[in-house]
Symmetry: D2
Subunit: 415 residues, 4 copies
């Protein structure tokens, strides 16, 4: 569709055009924000919004703290006004009283963010703003309310329906590919050559979610290997000596890396949708695919093992697999959820623990976090809903018989 290509070219072209001249009025940031929220906003709003974003871009951390402080204290809700509006609405629940309640109960900083977002390219800049906020919030928990308002808006703006999945490959623009290198969080990509091995061969795929207003910024991406049989080691999977197969020959798709790209979108969850969308798209394209699994790290294993019963590295491979299986199925937080964060993510999505492998990630990071052990989570479309619901309601963890047996064996020595 040329239409959208054109549409988006426009968006793109304008991203870089900023207010050509700065605000000369000598107004403070707070005065600019008040002006933007004020009545003249509709006409001169775009210019004011640019000034505010440009001014923000030049701030140091002290200024930013002051700005977030202003948002926290001055642009929040007025409890008395909410109470009054609520009373009026209860007394007469009409459109007019409800409108007043809506206005009173929403922090004015939400309207500020919406008006800032009129500026082409503003969305990405507001995501950056929240990234700053999350960083500064560590020492200023009172900014938490501002963060919740950002998060509420971003949930609307980055609604699943607005995101678009697209393949990343060797035909992708370099400016996107360099971001894949930069954002890869699981198995580091050291060079363009290594990147090419991840995205160009016929048996490698990469997919990312994008938002229309941030066309060169992936939000989250997943790397996929098409294989015969289930991969049990990331070294083998990523080896530069492996033999490439034709995509049509593969029976399995291995999701071996999922990375979030935007710190400023923390807490806005895309991973679940991404995996399901990729499973659906690959199934359609390659009907020969029968199995969809991850090859995932077990980031909490070492720490847990040390607390439990000594270093994993001393274990035999079999013993390591047993302990990994036990950890995945039985190590829980106080709230009953699995101790392992990656497990929580995939089990929450309805996957099941399919197999565990020793010596599967011999990188420094892999050895350090899990003694080299890794796990396959299986996405079986026919079981996902059931798995998910049992997990959600009773925290039941679905696992293959093999993993269940391994976990049982883990306790035998100590029994």
């Amino acid at each position: 569709m040329s239409l959208l290509s054109d549409l988006m070219n426009t968006v793109f072209a304008r991203r870089y055009s900023r207010a050509t001249e700065p605000d000369r009025s000598g107004r403070s940031m707070q005065e600019l924000c008040d002006a933007l929220l004020g009545s003249s906003g509709e006409v001169s709003g775009m210019i004011l919004a640019r000034h505010i974003l440009d001014r923000y871009a030049e701030m140091d951390d002290a200024d930013k703290r002051a700005f977030f402080g202003f948002l926290t204290t001055r642009l929040g809700i007025d409890a008395q006004a909410v109470r009054d509006a609520l009373a009026a609405y209860e007394a007469a629940p009409t459109k007019s009283t409800y409108r007043a309640f809506l206005t009173a109960s929403e922090a004015r900083r939400q309207e500020l963010a919406r008006r800032l977002n009129q500026v082409p390219g503003a969305t990405g800049r507001l995501v950056e703003m929240r990234k700053d906020l999350l960083r500064l919030m560590r020492d200023a928990p009172e900014f938490g309310t501002v963060d919740l308002d950002f998060r509420h808006l971003f949930s609307s703006w980055f609604n699943r329906g607005f995101l678009v999945l697209r393949p990343i490959n060797w035909e992708s623009p370099a400016e996107i590919l360099e971001k894949i290198i930069a954002y890869e969080a699981v198995h580091e990509i050291g060079s363009w050559q290594e990147l090419r091995r991840r995205v160009q061969p016929a048996d490698r795929r990469c997919f990312a979610f994008f938002h229309p207003t941030m066309p060169s910024e992936p939000l989250i991406f997943v790397e996929v290997a098409l294989t015969r049989g289930i991969a049990s080691s990331v070294q083998t999977l990523l080896s530069d000596k492996r033999e490439t197969i034709r995509a049509e020959e593969a029976d399995t798709a291995v999701f071996y890396s999922i990375s979030n790209c935007q710190d400023g979108l923390a807490g806005i969850s895309f991973g679940n949708s991404l995996i399901k969308q990729v499973v659906a798209d690959l199934s359609r394209e390659l009907p020969g695919l029968r199995t969809f699994v991850t090859l995932s790290p077990i980031p909490g294993l070492t720490r847990w093992a040390q607390e439990e019963e000594g270093d994993l590295r001393d274990d035999t491979p079999e013993r390591q697999r047993q302990r990994a299986a036990y950890y995945l199925l039985h190590a829980k937080r106080d709230d009953g959820a699995p101790y392992d964060p990656v497990a929580r993510f995939h089990l929450g999505n309805g996957a099941l623990v399919h197999a565990v492998h020793a010596g599967a990630d011999m990188s420094e990071n892999g050895l350090s976090q899990s003694g080299g052990a890794m796990v396959n989570y299986l996405y079986d479309l026919s079981l996902i809903t059931q798995n998910h619901e049992r997990y959600a309601s009773k925290q039941t963890i679905a696992a293959s018989p093999e993993v269940t047996a391994l976990a049982q064996a883990a306790r035998k020595p100590s029994s």
Copy 2:
């Protein structure tokens, strides 16, 4: 950017793929909505959301009324819960109490809409849903609260920053062009030949705003004639015998028709942004353009004139111009705003009343609403902010000396 072209192709392709099999569980619409809002939403939410949208699409008005009634009464706010959350927040304004307040103070139907919007193509369907709501609301004012929540969400989703301006011309897809024919609200387009005369010649332009998730649905569009001098009659402007000029020869851009396309987006204002964006884009492309004016109808003139002092049609052209000028500058509503809705729109945007013309729209509609009179509103970028602010604060109407003089002359005969 190919990226976005691809992105959008995907969106587009999926628009038509609906849930292949209907919900077989026999659940009612309310049960489906409860399920979607419930805890299992995250995993099976997409399927549930499709079912709900498909189910809605098959409803008759009675069913729709029941559905909106459900949204009104069952998915609104719980005043007591709001009060409690507010009290807790006042007592200890932490992130946690604020989160609880945010949840309590937002009607659950907003979350429902966000979850429905996960489905590709859902945005357009929710816009259709609000169109139904606005229609049914005429007899059911209690749905007004639901409407306010829709409007609140749509303000975020259709934020100016997400819209894209694109030219409409003879290379545009037929499926877009037929919508221009259908939605033209000011000067009817009778055939494809007539459409072609509006979009193909070198001295004619058309621009529309689009939203990325609705790529074949214009939201609002404006038709522009590039002329030498300011047009004083729509017949001349649209005549099929006029001589086309090269775009570079024009010194004036005449906005002779602005049409909103989506009833379901009523109250979400785009017109102001559209005109300014088009002025900016045309200025860049054609530096020879000096003047940006509308050629606008005066829809309330006849009615006002009849109330005042008899039929406009009996007036001489000069007298008609005087009365039109007087009407535009002095006929006010009780709240002090101009009586004429088109005047309110352009004056609110910062335009000024530049000239009035008799015999300018001799179509049946034109004669009926204003005795054939029309008006040019001038968008002078150097005056827009000042005009707007005076209008916003003191309801001062900016006008050219000529129009001011005409309005004064209007009263003389009766003095």
Copy 3:
């Protein structure tokens, strides 16, 4: 691929930019052509070429005749030079003598055309030039040599490998669609509504070949109906009351109209490739399609029948079918090829005569040319090569048993 979109946008944008100022040197067309062929061509060639094309565009027929006369007599081959170069090459067949022979044996007008073609957009203008040539050649057979050189070049430029097949549908640009209306040669398209019925429904398709330098000019297009069973009447096929089926339900694709668009490309054959490409593409997209047939006119039937034994319209439908079958299988030209031009085209492609129908095209044109009879030619991929080869070597016409029987029955009454 954005690359190509960009590539082509550029081509497109430049199509309309012509030499801004005409050649002021007062040189004649012949002098301009000589200059372009001369040594300074490389540097100022582009400008000269534009001047020549612009000058040509303003010529009347008398001027054009003079120009083609010049090409015929002055820019042909020099027989003596060819003979000399040939002798030198025979004496010593080196690269250098071969180069000299190549130069001598090619008419200089070929090099002229190649240099004219440097100008962006020139290809389409040269196609127009040949259209003029073919028209004027009717009274000037001596231009035939020029035509052969054009045809030789166009065979290279419009080589199958350079053509691209693309679907035409309701999302296609209006400027393309209006050309479909204009060029439809078989079953006239009366309005945009009728066009929409041919390209928008789920069971209708249209495909065209394009050349990259003429992106808004289809070269040839075919209209396809997806049906259950083989259509036996074009009225039924095109009826606006027929029920649309889903594409997946169809078992048959009926090619009911093939139209060449560019008179200037006469003799450069695309139809064979077009049908095969469309058969291949549709088979991939819709695996349920089992049968690919045409529903074709029988343009020579009436004339032949009148010569043979009286008016077709007096026949019973069955008798009409018999005579049509006989005509298709047995009416031959002196060179042994079928009398019917459409039959020659499809049989030459390897199709077979599958069925004949009476009352199948009751339009004025259909009644006039064949008494309303039509024919299905079947493209059976497993038989195409064999059919073609038998036809090419022995002029054997492949036909279904049913049609063979009908043709035999045709002779019985007169025996």
Copy 4:
């Protein structure tokens, strides 16, 4: 234009689809070629053509030599047939006799190449074939006639009117960018980081010509630096410490590298068109550009200087400049053309020798070929035609007064 994007996507998608099954008939390459040239070509030609191209792709050099030998001896012209056809044409110069002459005088290998080129993606493969031919021709000069036929066809297929200029930048597909790295022939690009410095900054540009059937293969590209004043050293130009300026601030565009990419297109000249097109496009985009120069190597200087009067490296910078100027203006080949190949290219395009610089390319290669000296050729649009014509007719070399003076000074010491 979506149309072309689609068009080209199709081309692209098919590039990789080859004949799924090889020719099982056991026919030799020569038999396959004969079959393709034979009468059944039209129907089964596409399949035969694929077989031939696939068979060729698997050949070793011995096979290829045999194949080119076959083209040389078996698919050339038949002198007697040419003579006969010529005689018939002279006797009666009709369309029919001319057609016979055209057929006889063209080597059948040209028709073979055209038929091979029917296969999507064949064009690039035929370019590769000529690359092989040129390599093997070094030991087999008799293949020269085949080469001339290839070159004749490629001149038509790669006619300037079919090429498209497009910018190469950091948004370009990685598969294109890696070819820029690979093909850069003047100033080597060592890494992706270095590439990025050449294409991403606001004051750097790169443009390439592409052919629609080879969308990911640049044919030739030029690298441009936008500067204030004329650059006199490539080190400064490419320094990673230089300060980037905004494109609008530049008054000069420096063409510092031009590289041909396709060995198989040797002798098909694009460079002249490329420079002129880029000058035209940049002038339009950046009206502030006043000067268009190259910063070019002087590849023959060292060798010439050694023959003349000893090593350049012993010279003072000033002396080096004098000798370089002298060399450029006065060192000639026997045919009177400049000794320096880069000088021949730019002077032939109508440029003039504007300035010479010592110490301008201190890379190993730069020192070795010219003692570090470089030259600016100036493209002054108002002088290009005149410069070119004087150069073409009288071999007059245009130079600035400064360079002329330097060249004169060069001789003084030795007088």
